[in-house]
């Protein structure tokens, strides 16, 4: 049978309508980034926050001077994501734990094998995170991973109760409930099989428990890949297009917007003629109204009349 991934309802619904959280480990060799390992699950989102922190050098403010001298340094994008991972059977609980082991591993630094030992390579900036249109396979540095099994939700336990009275060949005692459920699930699961998906609730490993629900939080700094720049204008845009978004990729940033076209200032510039100040251009109705209001310093009253702002 095909390896089990996730509870079938979640898997099917996810495949049709949602998207998984995908974390990839990559390596960078000869300037080429290659994916070396992927962790992927459908998750139950409980929180999602992004922050954009700008850093400025603030100069000394002489006595009585109104404003200090502010010099911009950089803007850092951080993301914090919280989610639940429920498990409807032992197999899913094990998969959830494997997934969490993989994620916890990402927070540790980057090491390289040198002879018999390891050389520390510094912060691990080789991972990518993808979560639909919110996180679009971004290179990141994982700041924190938190694993909290929800004990209130219960755990899947060992069950050593013997079934029947006859021992199998080469065995001293009859099989246990946990042993049988594991075997059936491995070999003949399904609605018409020996075990249904939700009936696999005991296992055969003494001393182990598998949580029915895990809460996870993950924090990361989204880093900019080599040669990429974030801002307006810059080297990837021509002199006439220095007000456009610097990436010049015809792609919304930071969040995807599906099939709708990007805004004018995001257009790629190799095939677009610039529109000069004072030159006519095709504006949306919205832009025309907003420009009219801005230029004439107007406001719309409650009755819909246009008034000049005091």
């Amino acid at each position: 049978m095909a390896p089990y991934r996730q509870f079938s309802n979640v898997q099917n619904l996810g495949d049709k309508a949602y998207f998984p959280l995908r974390i990839s480990k990559t390596s960078l060799e000869d300037g080429e980034r290659e994916t070396t390992r992927v962790y992927e699950r459908y998750i139950f989102l409980t929180s999602y926050d992004e922050s954009f922190e700008s850093n400025w050098d603030v100069g000394d403010r002489p006595l009585g001077r109104l404003n200090a001298q502010y010099n911009y340094k950089q803007t850092i994008r951080k993301v914090s994501i919280g989610f639940k991972m429920p498990a409807r059977n032992v197999a899913e609980a094990k998969k959830n734990l494997d997934f969490c082991s993989g994620l916890a591993n990402l927070v540790y630094g980057d090491y390289a094998r040198v002879g018999d030992g390891f050389a520390y390579q510094g912060a691990n900036l080789k991972n990518k995170i993808k979560f639909g249109n919110l996180l679009r396979n971004e290179l990141c540095y994982f700041e924190e991973f938190s694993f909290i099994p929800n004990m209130e939700a219960g755990v899947y336990e060992y069950n050593g109760t013997e079934v029947g009275v006859v021992a199998r060949q080469n065995e001293n005692s009859p099989p246990t409930v946990g042993q049988l459920q594991e075997e059936y699930f491995q070999n003949d699961r399904g609605p018409d099989g020996l075990i249904k998906e939700t009936d696999y609730v005991y296992h055969n490993q003494k001393g182990k428990v598998y949580p029915r629900e895990i809460n996870v939080t993950l924090s990361a700094v989204i880093v900019v890949d080599q040669g990429d720049l974030l801002g307006f204008g810059g080297p990837k845009r021509g002199v006439e297009h220095q007000k456009r978004w610097s990436q010049n990729t015809n792609r919304d940033w930071p969040h995807g917007t599906g099939p709708i076209p990007v805004l004018r200032y995001m257009y790629p510039t190799n095939n677009v003629t610039p529109i000069a100040e004072g030159e006519e251009e095709a504006l949306t109705d919205e832009e025309i109204i907003q420009r009219y209001i801005d230029e004439r310093r107007l406001q719309i009253s409650e009755r819909g009349n246009l008034n000049i702002i005091e």
Partner: protein, 208 residues
């Protein structure tokens, strides 16, 4: 001959279902919050669903007390102004959600500088003018406040639900409710008029 492009001016949602969304209400009442990127002139507006607002004016002062004197010795440097603003962006349809996502993208991009064409280093710092909220004005005839935004937080509320789509390969998740928190330092307006005894406008800050 090179030409300078017009900035992008992005208003609030006006699609076919705008009348049943909060955008229609905001348009009727002119509750429109606008952010303008000073370096490019691009501006983006949102229905102004303000969750919280604070405007703090705090002097940079040093107070010392001495025995036998009734008042502390106060040495005041200058006074700074910090603005904290939280607003919600609500979407009632997939079309509006995509529109809002694009608008939020534009706002988040405004946290970045205008770059040098040669080396890509910051050329014009990303100051932002905030206008449209009647309690945030500089006075002196200005309807906006120039700010240095230190932090924008984008939080979605899973309990409010999402609008999903798989029209594109990567999939789309648009929150019905996004909360945006802005923490900024306001740049104080200067009025050098001869009749002024203080360096800022007479009606600064203008709250009404």
């Amino acid at each position: 001959m090179s030409v300078t492009e017009r900035p992008q001016i992005r208003g609030i949602y006006s699609g076919p279902d705008a009348n049943v969304s909060v955008a229609g209400f905001a348009r009727d009442r002119n509750y429109v919050l606008t952010f303008k990127h000073v370096g490019t002139g691009h501006s983006v507006s949102f229905p102004s669903i303000i969750d919280s607002f604070s405007d703090t004016h705090a002097p940079n002062a040093n107070e010392r007390v001495f025995a036998g004197t009734p008042n502390p010795l106060i040495t005041q440097g200058s006074t700074g102004r910090e603005v904290n603003l939280t607003f919600k962006v609500l979407s009632a349809s997939l079309e509006e959600a995509r529109y809002n996502t694009q608008s939020i993208n534009m706002l988040l991009q405004m946290m970045y500088a205008r770059l040098d064409i040669e080396d890509g280093k910051p050329l014009v710092d990303p100051f932002i003018r905030i206008s449209g909220f009647s309690m945030l004005k500089d006075g002196g005839g200005r309807n906006s406040t120039k700010c240095l935004i230190r932090n924008i937080t984008y939080s979605l509320d899973p309990d409010e639900g999402f609008i999903m789509s798989k029209e594109s390969a990567e999939g789309e998740l648009h929150p019905i409710s996004v909360t945006i928190n802005i923490s900024a330092i306001a740049i104080l307006p200067v009025d050098n008029s001869e009749d002024r005894s203080q360096p800022y406008p007479s009606d600064y800050p203008r709250y009404r």
